[in-house]
């Protein structure tokens, strides 16, 4: 045992946390000397000194606070579709990178999230990427910091023409000419209707979307739905612009659309797309508009609207569709808004169909990659991922033996058809909107029916 004097010099040291080694102490308890070294476990210690500037810059942005709540459990990583597609991504990874010095504003991680919400589903700390990313991106767009050119081009198109393609607003009704049925254009014929059908950009302008729009018009017509469309006065719903970081642009188009809704008398809005559904249902009520503030309208996705009428619809399905069909849940109909049944009920009503689920379905559905602005970041994503999310999904559809991949989001026909080709599955898998399948099973009407 050392001499007491040795202890005295030891105890004269400065606090151990300052010098990094453990202090000896002299303790005599009831006459017994129990002096010794303190267990390191009871001392405050610093393992690594992180510079949290970039993390704090991010979490200071209203909406992005929850990025700081991550405790690295990593449940989000296998749930993240971008990571699955080889993007080395996910909230846990982003948090860790921020902690170790990454500036998100200079990094591709800012733009890869598709806001699919699958990570939020599993996160025990409620780190909400669907709130974080749009808020952070909005700051990046406002400050002009490394925003991908593809995305800016889309914003510019929406600002100038009201649609992401940069098409003339006057061509928004061109698809109606070959629908084979009369379609009421509310600006020209403004009387009351039961249904205001919000057609959307891809249905109106994309060459495959047009097929679905025409099919919808015919199905509505056969069902005797009293409907009208906004025609040239419709603008993009704005949901993707909001998620991609342009809240001002979202507000501008939302105000415009709300103003159009306000002009007409109708029972409900039926939308073609899950993003329009999400926007009108959850976001438009928050938009200050005119004197009244945000307006709330009853809105249904077309699969919900038709599923309610499946008893009237079923007798019209006289044809058979004897093929093996799987269904891709759109993130913004399913996970974001909880609707998994309506599309399935419609498919089940199709005569002759053999329905098969993919492994990742319903709440666990895999993202197509088009959400959160991903639709316009194809080139950017290709640089930072091993494959497109749509390619990953198409491979799964083929693996479960499907001949047809049924969808009900206007972004998806184009995305998945491209992915079918790029994964060498051309001829093996057909991509069809559910409305196209329904239309194909009904008695042909009009010149537009092939």
């Amino acid at each position: 045992m050392p001499e007491r004097s040795t202890y005295k010099t030891t105890t004269a040291r400065r606090a151990p946390r300052d010098e990094g080694f453990v202090q000896d102490e002299q303790v005599i308890l009831e006459g017994v000397d129990i002096s010794g070294q303190w267990n390191k476990m009871y001392e405050p210690r610093e393992i690594v000194d992180y510079d949290l500037t970039h993390l704090e810059e991010l979490t200071a942005i209203p909406g992005a606070e929850s990025m700081g709540w991550c405790y690295q459990c990593a449940q989000c990583i296998p749930a993240c579709p971008v990571d699955t597609a080889g993007g080395d991504y996910g909230p846990r990874k982003i948090f860790r990178r921020l902690q170790t010095g990454m500036d998100l504003f200079d990094h591709q991680d800012m733009w890869l999230c598709t806001s699919c919400q699958n990570c939020v589903r599993v996160c025990p700390k409620e780190v909400d990427m669907v709130e974080i990313m749009p808020a952070a991106r909005a700051q990046a767009v406002l400050d002009g910091r490394n925003v991908p050119g593809e995305l800016l081009e889309m914003f510019q198109n929406v600002a100038e023409y009201g649609n992401p393609m940069g098409e003339s607003a006057r061509r928004r009704t061109r698809w109606t000419r070959k629908a084979g049925v009369d379609i009421r254009l509310l600006p020209k014929n403004p009387g009351p209707v039961d249904v205001l059908w919000f057609v959307g950009d891809y249905y109106a302008f994309h060459n495959r979307g047009v097929d679905a729009a025409q099919a919808m018009a015919r199905v509505f017509s056969r069902l005797g739905v009293d409907f009208g469309i906004l025609g040239v006065d419709e603008r993009t719903d704005g949901d993707s612009q909001r998620l991609a970081g342009e809240p001002g642009l979202f507000e501008e188009v939302a105000e415009h659309n709300l103003e159009q809704f306000g002009k007409y008398e109708f029972g409900k809005i039926v939308v073609s797309g899950p993003h329009a559904y999400n926007a009108i249902k959850n976001e438009y009520p928050r938009v200050s508009h005119g004197k009244t503030g945000g307006d709330t309208y009853p809105v249904e996705h077309y699969t919900q609207f038709l599923a309610q009428q499946v008893d009237a619809l079923a007798p019209l399905l006289s044809g058979s569709f004897a093929r093996k069909v799987t269904f891709h849940d759109p993130c913004y109909l399913g996970r974001h808004n909880g609707e998994y049944d309506a599309p399935r009920r419609l498919l089940e009503a199709v005569p002759g169909i053999e329905f098969v689920e993919m492994y990742r379905c319903k709440a666990q559905g895999y993202c197509c990659g088009g959400g959160g602005g991903g639709m316009w970041l194809d080139g950017f994503a290709a640089e930072h991922q091993m494959e497109r999310l749509s390619e990953n999904r198409v491979k799964e559809a083929v693996e479960v033996g499907a001949e047809v991949l049924a969808v009900c989001c206007p972004y998806e026909v184009s995305r998945f058809e491209d992915a079918v080709k790029s994964t060498d599955n051309d001829g093996k898998l057909e991509v069809l909107d559910i409305i196209e399948i329904l239309d194909a099973c009904m008695e042909p009407i009009g010149e537009g029916v092939a």
Binding site: L142, A159, S168, E246
Partner: protein, 257 residues
């Protein structure tokens, strides 16, 4: 440095253009206007110049459909002042337009005047030179870069593009007019929230233009009149040739060789 950017709105080619009943002008019923792309580059080059060398940037534009939005967007991008000229909608060609701009510029401090080298609705590239002639200052066209500083006070260095990939570096004394072919970077994006914010707080200064008399001020009108305006005739189509022999046969048949 006082930078002035002259901008105008031109027919948007995203719409199908139609000729009106007179057969001499575009039908305006469905005509949508958009910013002249070259003017947008002139603004961008002006903003870059302002950011590197300081100064004040003013945008001047003729009143036209959606011109306010264009001017608020310019403010959102970094312009300091915007001027809208009203009552000059019927000016004839670039001669008339230049006379209107000259009148405005005479009343504004200016060291450097930037404008697009040409516009989709004229393609004659004469606006810059005529403005310069009226102001009696030098002019360089087809400019791709402007730098201040090196030659010293009252001078700028500009890059002028020639065909065949040749670029000249010129020093020019101020004040001067530059016709911008392309800015050093793509015109920046103005976030809509910023534009909307500026729309609430900023003002567009309005000036009354000299209107139809402007052409006369420039020396007797524009000197041209539109005789007829038609869509281009569709050609008979191209003949695809398989090889040199076929090419020779065609040339011989035409009597060229």
């Amino acid at each position: 440095m006082k930078i002035v950017v002259l901008m105008k709105r031109v027919p948007d080619l995203v719409e199908d253009l139609e000729v009106d009943g007179s057969g001499k002008a575009l039908a305006t019923e469905h005509l949508k206007l958009t910013v002249n792309e070259f003017d947008d580059h002139a603004l961008e080059e002006g903003l870059l110049l302002k950011e590197t060398s300081g100064g004040e940037l003013t945008v001047v534009a003729l009143d036209a459909a959606d011109v306010d939005k264009m001017l608020f967007t310019a403010l959102a991008k970094g312009a300091d002042r915007v001027l809208k000229i009203t009552g000059a909608a019927n000016v004839e060609g670039n001669t008339g337009l230049a006379a209107v701009f000259e009148e405005v510029l005479s009343a504004q401090e200016h060291d450097l005047i930037l404008t697009g080298v040409q516009a989709a609705d004229d393609r004659d590239g004469q606006l810059g030179p005529i403005v310069a002639a009226l102001l009696d200052v030098p002019c360089v066209e087809v400019v791709t870069q402007v730098e201040v500083g090196e030659p010293g006070e009252g001078m700028v260095t500009v890059h002028k593009e020639y065909s065949g990939g040749v670029v000249a570096e010129l020093e020019i004394s101020l004040p001067a007019v530059l016709g911008i072919q392309a800015a050093r970077q793509s015109p920046r994006y103005a976030p809509v929230s910023k534009v909307r914010q500026i729309q609430q707080s900023a003002t567009i200064e309005t000036l009354a233009g000299a209107g139809e008399s402007s052409g006369a001020a420039a020396g007797g009108g524009s000197g041209f009149s539109v005789v007829e305006m038609t869509a281009p005739e569709t050609g008979a189509g191209a003949q695809m040739l398989a090889g040199v022999d076929e090419l020779m046969a065609v040339l011989e048949a035409k009597g060229v060789v």
